[in-house]
């Protein structure tokens, strides 16, 4: 090959080792035809696989984030719009898989050096810039770069054709005439005013130098007010001609008697040109900084909005709306399911939802599930389940119209291939790109590393975006991706935290359960052994005590087993079926289960009129478990003979149930912790085997799961009172009033 890289071997220790082992390549773009060769040379280094065509390069592009960079440093930021060759080169670099960045700076080598340092570039590719014959001879860029980047390998690809540009290439250099009627009229008007003033000066017999000053001022004003340097030059020529024609003897001719005026013309003309150039440059700088400020503002705005976005849907909506504002073009977003065309089969085009018409962002709709790149694309993989879960809410693309401009779903249906390709390859496709050129939209993939979030489509309306819009577009999408990534990470972190907390609770529960189940088992086993061995030797009352203890322990074991079972059911949700039950029946059945705790009569009364119905939606087994736990608890603390009161009443839309015992009650400082897991009124778990505090915690969990509340109060005159409330079921249909039916 023709290129001969100048390689500066680095001897400094640690010079290269601080960089990634993989070469990080950056190529500098210019409007020169050589640039294509530079890009190819850089691509060979960046992509070790042999490449034959740009498209194969694109498909073999490395993972995101490690893409090589193509940098263009412009002085105005508008070169790409004005120069087709530069545009071509930028596209060429993109096709090769480079990430194109455009920056604005007047000091090109410094900008390149800064950028290369920031991006930790190891290999820099440049085209050879021949000594140019411009007005200001520039020092060779490569010389400057060599001294600025001592640790970077700089490869310079020479221009094999000639040291200068072909003629037709030079014609389209920046600043080529671009006449525009408004500017022309402006120049003429300014010069006319200057001429008018000069005439007045002339009549007033002011010296010619005043007239020259007026004209130079005119040229300056014309340069500042017009869009190109050409007008300044034009104004300067006009000034010389007018001045000579109107005020220099012989007047009204272009002849000059005094040859000294030739010198004046030359000097003033140069002065006019220089001031004009300076004015244009200042204007450009002002425009660039205005654009930069605008870009910064838009990005800041976007990132502020993204920061306050609540979920991934919000992030995507914010991004798309921001893009619509920025570009004033209609935007469409394809969530992963839609991008893969899962609903393609039914109608050939996605089931479209118009953002303006129906808001798909209702809070109930599930978030767009990010699609993992690891999984195969086909719908019969394991991810398919996830898609079907979400397909109802987020299968279709979401449209963001720009004012009147909307995208028609039918049209987009034809471009699903491009969407799919974009999504799968995490690349850009569509109008004005190398892939799917004939699409009306440009499709950009929203992805981060392995996770793909979807595809954003932008209606190109038949003309490309400006380089500035392109840059800001990519920045916004980058922001969006970052926000999505953060959101995902936060969610993952939260899930991990919840999981860790659950693990901790589970471990504690297991420890507590194994301890608390073994203790009564030990006593049952021990009693059985001693009864077998010494039953005859034991006095009657001792034996009775043993029988009672065995029964009590067995009861306790059974109750705890039921609690564990209920807790498992509540956690897993398996076998939980809510029905509308009569609370009275539930309480009565619970009383039958708890009534084996003799000697402590349980009184059940309800408050309300005869036809009062206590219906509530519930999982009856769990509510029974609550009642049994509360009753067992009451029995445990109530002295024999004392009565336990169960009371039920209805207040508006709630059913209130109270279980009151005559025990010692619960001290105020313990009350807030009564429903905590493992809390048994004492700090230590090992005090007694009756410590398994899951009973009341389970009650609270069950009641809360039913949308109710539970509290502990003091019973009068002594004891504790547990009160829970459940939302009453609303039975207002006609069939619910048996009294209205035909009586016998």
């Amino acid at each position: 090959m023709l290129h001969s890289p100048i390689r500066r071997n680095i001897e400094e220790t640690g010079g290269k080792s601080s960089y990634a082992s993989r070469p990080s390549v950056m190529v500098c773009l210019s409007p020169s035809p050589t640039t294509k060769r530079v890009i190819r040379a850089a691509a060979r280094m960046a992509f070790p696989v042999p490449l034959s065509s740009p498209s194969s390069a694109a498909s073999a592009s490395p993972a995101a984030g490690t893409a090589p960079i193509a940098l263009y440093v412009g002085s105005t930021g508008r070169e790409a719009e004005e120069n087709s060759l530069l545009r071509e080169n930028i596209q060429y670099a993109r096709d090769y898989g480079f990430e194109v960045h455009t920056i604005q700076s007047t000091d090109i080598p410094l900008a390149i050096a800064e950028y290369a340092r920031r991006e930790k570039v190891t290999d820099l590719f440049l085209g050879y810039s021949p000594p140019s014959f411009t007005l200001l001879p520039k020092p060779a860029i490569n010389e400057k770069l060599l001294s600025a980047l001592p640790t970077v390998d700089i490869h310079i690809v020479p221009d094999p054709v000639s040291s200068s540009y072909p003629k037709d290439m030079r014609q389209i250099r920046p600043g080529s005439p671009n006449w525009n009627l408004r500017d022309l009229l402006l120049v003429l008007a300014v010069m006319a005013v200057a001429t008018f003033l000069s005439c007045w000066f002339y009549i007033s017999r002011f010296s010619n130098s005043n007239i020259i000053t007026i004209y130079i001022l005119g040229v300056l004003i014309a340069s500042v007010m017009t869009s190109s340097r050409v007008y300044g030059t034009f104004a300067a020529i006009l000034y010389v001609l007018l001045f000579n024609f109107l005020f220099i003897e012989p007047r009204f001719t272009l002849l000059v008697y005094d040859s000294a005026y030739m010198m004046t013309y030359l000097v003033t003309m140069v002065a006019a040109l220089i001031t004009g150039t300076v004015a244009v440059r200042m204007k450009n700088i002002a425009r660039v900084s205005a654009e930069n400020a605008y870009q910064a503002k838009v990005l800041l705005d976007t990132s502020n909005q993204l920061e306050s976005a609540e979920d991934s849907e919000d992030i995507i909506r914010t991004t798309c709306i921001q893009l619509v504002h920025l570009l004033n073009r209609a935007v469409v977003f394809y969530p992963p399911a839609a991008a893969l065309g899962h609903d393609k089969g039914d109608s050939g085009h996605p089931s479209a939802r118009d953002f303006a018409a129906v808001s798909p962002w209702d809070p109930d709709a599930p978030a767009f599930p990010p699609e993992n790149r690891d999984s195969p694309d086909d719908s019969n993989d394991s991810n398919h389940l996830d898609h079907s879960d979400h397909s109802k809410a987020s299968c279709g693309p979401v449209f963001f119209p720009a004012g009147e401009k909307t995208l028609s779903p039918e049209l987009l249906g034809k471009e699903l291939g491009a969407v799919r390709w974009t999504f799968k390859n995490s690349q850009t496709a569509g109008a004005f790109t190398s892939q799917f050129k004939d699409c009306t939209c440009r499709y950009l993939s929203v992805y981060s590393g392995e996770t793909r979030y979807g595809v954003i489509g932008i209606d190109m309306e038949g003309h490309p975006l400006t380089e500035f819009q392109d840059t800001i577009l990519l920045s916004i999408i980058h922001e969006c991706t970052m926000a999505l990534e953060n959101e995902r990470m936060a969610q993952e972190k939260q899930t991990a935290e919840i999981r860790a907390e659950n693990e901790r609770l589970r471990a504690g529960l297991l420890r507590s359960i194994s301890h608390d189940l073994r203790t009564p088992l030990t006593s049952i086993y021990g009693y059985a052994c001693s009864l077998r061995s010494y039953e005859d030797d034991l006095p009657r009352e001792d034996r009775d005590k043993i029988y009672e203890d065995i029964m009590e322990d067995a009861d306790w074991l059974n109750a705890q087993f039921e609690n564990i079972l209920s807790m498992t059911r509540l956690e897993s949700g398996i076998g939980i079926r809510r029905t509308i039950e009569n609370m009275e029946d539930v309480i009565e059945q619970s009383l039958r289960h708890a009534s084996s705790h003799h000697n402590r009569p349980i009184v059940f009364d309800t408050q309300g009129s005869e036809d009062q119905i206590f219906f509530a939606e519930m999982e009856p087994k769990l509510i029974m478990q609550v009642m049994i736990n509360l009753l067992n608890n009451a029995v445990k603390y109530t002295p024999p003979g004392a009565e336990i009161r169960v009371h039920m009443e209805r207040s508006e839309d709630q059913i209130i149930v109270e279980v009151a015992d005559k025990g010692p009650g619960i001290s105020d400082e313990d009350k807030p912790y009564v429903f905590d897991l493992f809390y048994n009124g004492k700090k230590s778990l090992t005090d007694s085997y009756r410590s398994m505090g899951i009973g009341l915690n389970l009650c609270a969990q069950i009641i809360h799961a039913h949308g109710g509340s539970i509290e502990v109060l003091d019973n009068e005159p002594t004891g504790a009172l547990f009160r829970f409330r459940l939302p009453a079921a609303d039975l207002d249909s006609a069939e619910m009033q048996p009294a209205d039916l035909d009586s016998m």
């Binding site: 067995a554 009856p620 016998m744």
Partner: protein, 234 residues
């Protein structure tokens, strides 16, 4: 009914031992089986009047055993199952079982069920006379005049309540599942019918109870169904 045999089908040796010991102490005659096929053949050869059947058998599914026995025998079947398996109970009751006992159960509970089953058997035996009057404790239903009285007081019932009551009365002692009742009263059940059934049942029980406070002839089996208990003293 003195020569009535009880067939105990239970594969767990110690539970079987507990049940047979209890039966022995209370002077019931019994036969024991530990597998489903043994149960079926013993049932065929010994014609027991009452079967205590554990649902979790090692060879045949308990439901299959019920269906096989029900195909020729009208013996009362009480199933024994672990709590939390309501669907199994419902399936067993719908397949022809009469009552159920939940593990762990106490001896008192077991004996009460056996006594209730014996009363039911007596009632079935005496029912053959086609009496136009059903009497259960204080509850009297005169089928001919469609009048329900509790302790002599007439109770006014709606048509559906009356049908519910007669359905329970004709199956006294047997646990009727929700779907069975709905099927008989409304003919074909949908989900909301369970709620209206509950409303009618609540109303029916209230009316019976207002005629005689403390009367609790209809027992609710949460998640399963309803059962009319046979009063201890007829």
């Amino acid at each position: 009914m003195d020569d009535m045999k009880i067939l105990v089908v239970e594969d767990d040796r110690s539970v079987l031992n507990l049940i047979t010991t209890t039966l022995k102490i209370n002077h019931y005659s019994y036969i024991a089986a530990s597998t489903g096929s043994e149960a079926v053949s013993l049932c065929a050869s010994h014609r027991p009047g009452l079967i205590l059947l554990d649902l979790g058998l090692p060879d045949i599914d308990g439901i299959e055993v019920i269906r096989t026995i029900r195909s020729w025998s009208s013996a009362i079947i009480i199933i024994i199952s672990a709590r939390g398996e309501d669907s199994d109970k419902i399936l067993a009751l719908d397949s022809g079982a009469d009552d159920y006992l939940t593990k762990p159960f106490s001896i008192e509970e077991l004996l009460a069920r056996i006594r209730a089953a014996l009363r039911r058997m007596q009632y079935i035996a005496s029912k053959d006379e086609k009496s136009p009057v059903f009497a259960n404790g204080d509850l009297v239903i005169d089928y001919a005049s469609r009048i329900v009285t509790v302790a002599g007081t007439e109770v006014h019932l709606t048509a559906i309540e009356y049908r519910l009551l007669t359905l329970l009365a004709s199956n006294v002692g047997k646990v009727l599942t929700h779907s069975f009742i709905i099927d008989r009263i409304w003919g074909g059940g949908v989900e909301t019918d369970i709620i209206s059934l509950r409303v009618y049942m609540t109303s029916l029980r209230k009316k019976l109870r207002s005629a005689q406070p403390g009367l609790n002839l209809i027992e609710t089996h949460i998640g399963i169904g309803y059962q009319m208990l046979r009063a201890e003293k007829v």
